[in-house]
Symmetry: C2
Subunit: 211 residues, 2 copies
């Protein structure tokens, strides 16, 4: 499999942590991508092969062993879970809907973080403080919800936990995002432990390297 | 089940068409939502119950028969496909990855359309022509890709077809989006037929009614 990647993208990190936890990492060839800082408001020059594989031209994009491109992190994680030889991060039965419910909240939180990043990169004259505040409010509501559902983070490893952990990690990384810990005590304690997993420690976010 | 809904949202239409095609529509209670026109760059007053069910505060949000909220249209469609008594719009086996591959392109196309809508609603002083052009380029690349893969639209009904059809419908509806037909002859012929399905005819996009 081939993964279009950068260490700055939390959606890509979700795929990488999933692949590592499922024991699939050795089967994935990483293709580093480069993103000029105007990526949010311009059609940039894409890393070779990306737009050809996935016309949305976004990462993560995974090309499967059969040469099929998947351009959505949720679908990629589901695919990896299916090809994993034994372990699973998507529960069956009644637990499944609960896992996806919490996952969708954590994923919406990631979207808000990345939407803020794109807005911060705009020239000041076309940057919307209202837009940034809308995303900040969304992030706060999502962390409040996760704190209220923090007992769901205690079961066997699943994709919701991975996504929550990555949202916490991104919130810590970007200095223009508030500390998520105040008012979210149980989540903070959980994240302190979760961040120690090798798959998390080895994938801490970094700026996209220059070309 | 309960669905937070508006007729203007293509992601919500995807869920509605899916539910109709799977014979589940009668089991869903529709909760109309209202969206002030500054929804893209302000925290608006949400329709009662929406943010409480899903802190991302976005539609579609489905509350399952078990009271679990799902706030992502892909996950909602997967859930509906699982609870459907007999039919399925997600193939098994080798066809599955191909279906999700095309689906992700069509879904990325919907995202670009909605990103443009949100940008168009911004006051002119903070609207980015570069951002609009970036999304227009993405839309063109996605339609080109779908045209090149139009043979995949000919099999039994699946979620990729539904999403492609809705992308075409949205492109037709908004006067600031270009006609998708030039250069995409096979897709145009396919869409003419697909748009006649009752589930498509009965769900044509309309502006969100005022409160």
């Amino acid at each position: 499999m081939k993964l279009f990647w950068t260490p700055a993208s939390p959606f890509t990190r979700k795929v990488v942590v999933t692949a590592r936890e499922l024991g699939l990492w050795e089967r994935i060839e990483v293709v580093p991508t480069v993103w000029p800082l105007d990526w949010g408001y311009a059609t940039v020059e894409f890393t070779k092969g990306l737009a050809e594989a996935n016309p949305v031209a976004r990462i993560p994009t995974l090309v499967t062993d059969d040469g099929v491109a998947l351009g959505d992190s949720t679908l990629i994680c589901q695919h990896l879970n299916e090809v994993a030889p034994s372990s699973s991060i998507i529960p069956e039965g009644e637990a499944k809907a609960h896992m996806w419910s919490l996952y969708a909240v954590a994923d919406g939180l990631l979207e808000a973080q990345i939407a803020m990043r794109a807005e911060m990169l705009r020239p000041g004259s076309i940057r919307s403080e209202g837009f940034l505040n809308k995303q900040r409010d969304r992030i706060t509501r999502c962390f409040d919800h996760i704190e209220a559902h923090s007992d769901e983070l205690d079961g066997p490893l699943d994709l919701a936990q991975i996504t929550v952990g990555i949202a916490c990690g991104y919130q810590d990384w970007r200095e223009w995002l508030d500390d998520f810990r105040p008012g979210h005590g149980r989540l903070s304690v959980w994240y302190d432990e979760f961040a120690k997993r090798p798959a998390m420690r080895d994938t801490e976010p970094k700026e996209t390297p220059a070309a």
